[in-house]
């Protein structure tokens, strides 16, 4: 049994009077591709926002590799190795696909105003290395041909791939994908699934994936967690979860 890379314990999130996440506890095993499913409004995206530092939880804790990360701002969670994508892709529209990726690496010398002007040789050398890495990631995700066009020119499916590429660019330990398959045509979907699998095999990245497409969940995930009304309803292998009557009832609202 692999050890848990991420532990969520008793997590609560209130928005005014609405409790979006209600005493939620779960583990994600290191190196797994874990699916997170549940009816609309179950609190899946809110859980992502809590893990990634977009919201501060009302109560409860999140530990990543033994360290508490709840309440940390997003950029610090990012530095711990967790990167998330968005349900609706949020590409930097008027920047090229390549620039979208070159933005990502942390601690670039040229991000300091002083060194950007005074140590241009150092910045230039780093830029070459970052560009090489970005081109590699583009190759990996099959976006090489569109590297130089503004990101707003991509198709919906390509934007999803760009979201995945952005996470890979960060050399993360864990990636949170919010509905990577929604609105993606079958050809690109195959490429996306291949990319996620290879990232797990070759780079050892752990994935937690929100997805409504059960076919995709079946194909991709080795473990599935079902959320309903802000808490974990049940979990297990994809096949076991699909048979579970409580899951069907939660989806049908009975």
């Amino acid at each position: 049994m692999a050890s848990a890379i991420l532990r969520v314990r008793g997590l609560v999130m209130d928005f005014g009077g609405v409790r979006a996440v209600d005493n939620c506890s779960l583990n994600v095993d290191e190196g797994s591709i874990t699916g997170l499913i549940g009816p609309n409004g179950a609190g899946k995206t809110t859980l992502f926002n809590l893990i990634a530092g977009f919201h501060k939880p009302t109560a409860g804790r999140v530990t990543f590799r033994g360290e508490r990360i709840d309440g940390l701002p997003t950029y610090l969670v990012f530095r711990k190795g967790i990167v998330r994508t968005f349900q609706i892709p949020r590409e930097l529209r008027r920047m090229s696909v390549l620039e979208n990726l070159m933005l990502v690496p942390s601690d670039q010398a040229g991000e300091s105003m002083w060194r950007a002007v005074a140590a241009r040789w150092l910045v230039k050398r780093q830029e070459r290395a970052i560009e090489a890495q970005a081109r590699e990631v583009l190759e990996f995700t099959g976006l090489s041909e569109v590297a130089d066009i503004p990101a707003e020119g991509l198709s919906g499916g390509q934007k999803k791939l760009l979201e995945l590429a952005r996470t890979l660019m960060a050399r993360p330990r864990m990636v949170l994908l919010d509905e990577p398959g929604a609105g993606v045509n079958p050809t690109l979907l195959r490429r996306l699934v291949g990319g996620i699998r290879r990232a797990r095999e070759e780079l050892g990245i752990t994935f937690l994936i929100i997805e409504h497409d059960m076919g995709l969940v079946m194909r991709l995930c080795d473990h599935v967690i079902v959320m309903s009304e802000g808490a974990v309803l049940t979990q297990g292998t994809p096949a076991a979860v699909q048979q579970d009557e409580r899951v069907v009832r939660a989806y049908l609202g009975a």
Partner: protein, 336 residues
């Protein structure tokens, strides 16, 4: 005529500096600052207060404070002969605007879009009202009027404007080259990412607040330097120069007309808008009234937003591209 053109060019240079600062705020980072006049005023007053001569005896109660830096430095060897005080005044303007921008930015930068606009507008008006009402500091509505000349006594009086034009151009060129290096660096890339989508920048591991604050302070400092250049050009400043209309609106018009987020927008925008603003004073009576002039700048902004939303600068580069293409074609034909 030459004098008019020189004075005209000086003001275009100074307004290019303001617009350069606003381009850092809005063009590259998306910070909606409609309080340009506040930093403009701070820079102008800081530089002036450090260097003004004490008023003559019959106006002695006009203002209490006079830095009189030029005379204080006069006794020193070498330094006294050079106009070091001018550099010191520009630095004072930078430091004061940087300090104020740091405090204001720390409080207001977290606000989004229109709220930042309201906050900056309010702060700019507060700055103006402080200088208007604290008579001991800024001499109220009469303003400061004993601001010394750069290179006074070194350069003959009739050449003064031409020399000052060179000073303005040197300062602008230095700022412009610095900004050009910055916007093409990874630092500039982070700013553009913030402008495009702050949430994505955050999810890409960037400490968005820190970058926005840096950009806010940098843009404000450039506006402050512009204010200092403005003060030494007119050598008299009063709060009426820093109203939202004269201190903010016209600079926004320059940025929009030039093309927000374009490197050359400040020069192009300042040239066109100041050309219209300044040229229209020679038109026959009803056309040269201030209200008509403001109106014409407003119409220009609307026309640009409708027909060339990216500003005039991209149009110019397209024209240039077409020219070079045509020339290349002609050369190819000639070679055959």
């Amino acid at each position: 005529m030459l004098e008019f053109l020189t004075a005209f060019a000086i003001l275009i240079g100074i307004y290019s500096v303001f617009t350069l600062g606003l381009n850092v705020h809005w063009g590259y980072t998306g910070l909606f600052n409609i309080g340009v006049a506040g930093f403009f005023a701070l820079g102008a007053y800081a530089a002036s207060l450090l260097t003004i001569r004490p008023p003559s005896s019959d106006q002695v109660d006009d203002y209490l404070y006079a830095g009189d830096l030029a005379n204080r430095l006069e006794g020193l060897p070498v330094i006294g002969a050079l106009d070091v005080w001018f550099v010191a005044a520009l630095m004072a303007a930078s430091l004061v605007t940087a300090a104020v921008a740091l405090v204001v930015g720390t409080i207001t930068i977290r606000l989004r879009g229109d709220y930042l606009a309201i906050a900056t507008l309010g702060i700019a008006e507060s700055v103006r009202l402080v200088f208007l009402n604290e008579r001991w500091l800024g001499n109220g509505s009469k303003g400061l009027y004993t601001i010394p000349r750069v290179f006074d006594g070194i350069v003959p009086a009739q050449d003064y404007d031409r020399v000052y034009l060179v000073v303005v151009l040197v300062v602008f060129a230095a700022l412009f080259l610095g900004i050009r290096a910055l916007v093409h660096s990874p630092w500039g890339r982070v700013l553009r990412a913030i402008r495009e989508d702050e949430v994505t920048a955050e999810a890409s591991g960037k400490h968005v607040f820190r970058f926005k604050l840096q950009a806010f302070v940098l843009g404000a400092v450039i506006m402050g330097i512009g204010g200092a250049l403005y003060a030494f050009n007119l050598r008299a400043i009063s709060p009426s120069a820093f109203t939202p209309l004269l201190g903010t609106f016209i600079i926004w018009a320059m940025l929009v007309v030039g093309g927000s987020g374009r490197l050359y927008a400040p020069i192009v925008g300042a040239f066109i808008v100041w050309g219209i603003w300044s040229g229209s004073q020679f038109l026959p009576d009803p056309l040269s009234s201030p209200n008509v002039r403001y109106f014409s700048v407003g119409v220009l902004v609307v026309l640009v937003l409708v027909y060339a939303p990216d500003g005039v600068t991209p149009l110019l580069s397209r024209v240039r591209e077409r020219w070079t293409a045509r020339r290349r074609l002609r050369r190819a034909v000639a070679e055959e």
